[in-house]
């Protein structure tokens, strides 16, 4: 058990200003890795070509699982962009900080650890929308006919959906990393996360290729479809407006649940934390 800085009442104003500052810091940090960003967009685009070609060949000239050709292409390319926004394969920074004990420095700050990391991650995601999302989508638009949403409300819904996906993904990554409080080496959960988030998230193929009952179960019982599949379904207007709103609502429920779980796990983890000596 350690005493945290924020047990001491801090001035309200200072604490409120901390989160935007952290978000800006997160944004500026990633803005410095320009070469890595270009490399990532290049890689995402190559995989965009691969997956888009396969899915379009599969569809022939028709419709598969409710997606026509432009919708399938958009699903693939926007999906390749989303990887960078939600940061599906994020850095396992927190796990390393727990293992090395550096996390103490974060805990001493007078702001909650979960909100601290979330603010920084949202800052990063804001930049990623302009770079890592737009990049592959532009490449895709040059090579394939993409689907532009018909309903104006879709743009707003998709923005919400992308934000919620980022929060859910952040929460999942936080939980995977927080396993290090108990395991020290969080590699097992990390491997499982990498596998499950890709397949059940809808990255490799639209989940609706699977039996309908299974997909509904996945959406309701796991956070994975909220990461990629649901935002993309909202974007390509796969269903009526009511369905789009429903998907965003599902994501919102997951975002709240995951963040609550993060805070609970973090409180338990702090009690468990043993800083490695030396």
């Amino acid at each position: 058990m350690i005493t945290r800085g924020h047990d001491v009442p801090a001035p309200r104003v200072a604490r409120g200003a901390a989160y935007p500052a952290l978000a800006v810091a997160g944004l500026r940090r990633y803005a410095t890795y320009r070469q890595a960003m270009v490399a990532a967009i290049f890689t995402n685009s190559i995989f965009g070509f691969l997956r888009c070609s396969v899915l379009l060949a599969l569809a022939g000239a028709g419709t598969v699982a409710g997606y026509d050709e432009p919708r399938l292409a958009t699903f693939v390319w926007a999906g390749q962009g989303l990887i960078g926004v939600v940061l599906l394969w994020g850095p396992y920074e927190l796990a390393d900080r727990i293992r090395t004990g550096d996390v103490i420095a974060d805990l001493l700050r007078p702001v909650d650890l979960v909100w601290q990391f979330l603010a920084a991650d949202l800052g990063r995601a804001g930049l990623a929308v302009l770079t890592r999302f737009v990049g592959p989508v532009v490449v895709g638009a040059l090579a394939f006919p993409l689907y532009a949403p018909r309903r104006p409300a879709t743009y707003l819904l998709f923005a919400c959906s992308m934000l919620l996906a980022t929060i859910v993904c952040f929460g999942c990554r936080f939980l995977v990393n927080a396993a290090a409080y108990w395991l020290l080496d969080a590699r097992g959960p990390q491997v499982a996360w990498t596998l499950l988030s890709g397949v059940l998230g809808g990255l490799y193929f639209p989940l609706w290729f699977l039996p309908r009952a299974a997909v509904v179960l996945l959406i309701a019982a796991t956070p994975f479809p909220s990461l990629i599949q649901l935002p993309l379904d909202v974007l390509v207007e796969r269903g009526p407006p009511g369905e789009q709103v429903m998907w965003v609502a599902v994501q919102a429920v997951w975002a709240v649940a995951i963040l609550a779980l993060c805070r609970w796990v973090q409180r338990r983890g702090e009690r468990k934390l043993v800083v490695q000596g030396g």
């Binding site: 890689t43 490799y204 290729f209």
Partner: protein, 252 residues
């Protein structure tokens, strides 16, 4: 290698993860064929065979030279200097420094799936085809290995090349698992012929299946794969030597 087996739980998790990634290749193909009966004129059994060959070849390459990805780390931190001053081949040392035994899992599952795929496709196995069934994954592994080494070499010129190499190595794996007829002309020329990925699984699988190439290439092209692999390995070796020559330490 023995040191890794000491941490039993971690090792078991890594092997399980490695197996799961191998299974994932097939899960994707299964899902695709749930919504369509053919993919660019190829049936499930035919695509499954290509995927299994590509998956096994990639797993073998990953096991043998996957470590070369760490070159970037060694160059950036300057540890590569320590490798160079030793009187052993730099590449061999790099590969031996951290043999990832966990990757055996993916090789094993790849081979098992290849057996299932071969049985499922009702192959008419002449001695020549049987030999090709064994040689193709090995030749494919050599092509992937050449790509792993070649893309890692980029770090000698561009230290922070990041995940750029993944597009060609992991991307090549994804590319090879499907009939090359699904890809657009430009992309196909680049990946299938330029980088040789058509010879990993597509052409060997056509020979094994006794099918003609819809693109009109000679039927026996599948048997050429060891030759392509040799060329790829030679080019990668050239690039590696050039990289070593070009290498200047990172300083501090």
């Amino acid at each position: 290698m023995r040191s890794q087996a000491q941490y039993r739980a971690s090792f078991a998790i890594d092997v399980a993860g490695s197996v799961a990634f191998g299974v994932l290749d097939v899960v994707t193909v299964l899902a695709l064929f749930r919504v369509s009966r053919t993919l660019a004129g190829f049936t499930f059994a035919e695509v499954f065979l290509m995927t299994a060959i590509a998956s096994t070849a990639f797993a073998l390459a990953d096991l043998a030279v996957g470590n070369v990805e760490r070159l970037q780390f060694y160059v950036r931190t300057g540890l590569f200097d320590a490798v160079l001053v030793r009187p052993l081949g730099a590449l061999m040392q790099l590969l031996a420094m951290d043999v990832a035994a966990r990757r055996v899992g993916r090789v094993a599952i790849g081979m098992a799936l290849l057996g299932v795929a071969a049985a499922h496709a009702d192959l008419v196995l002449t001695p020549a085809r049987l030999a090709l069934l064994v040689v193709a994954p090995i030749a494919g592994a050599l092509i992937f290995s050449a790509l792993f080494v070649a893309t890692a070499t980029v770090t000698f010129w561009w230290v922070e090349s990041g995940e750029l190499g993944n597009a060609l190595t992991y991307g090549g794996h994804d590319f090879s698992g499907y009939p090359i007829t699904v890809y657009g002309a430009l992309f196909r020329r680049l990946f299938a012929y330029g980088l040789g990925f058509a010879f990993v699984a597509y052409y060997p699988a056509l020979v094994l299946l006794g099918r003609d190439d819809p693109l009109g290439a000679p039927a026996a092209l599948g048997y050429v794969c060891p030759l392509i692999a040799a060329v790829a390995a030679f080019l990668a070796a050239l690039l590696w030597r050039a990289g070593i020559m070009h290498y200047r330490s990172t300083g501090s």
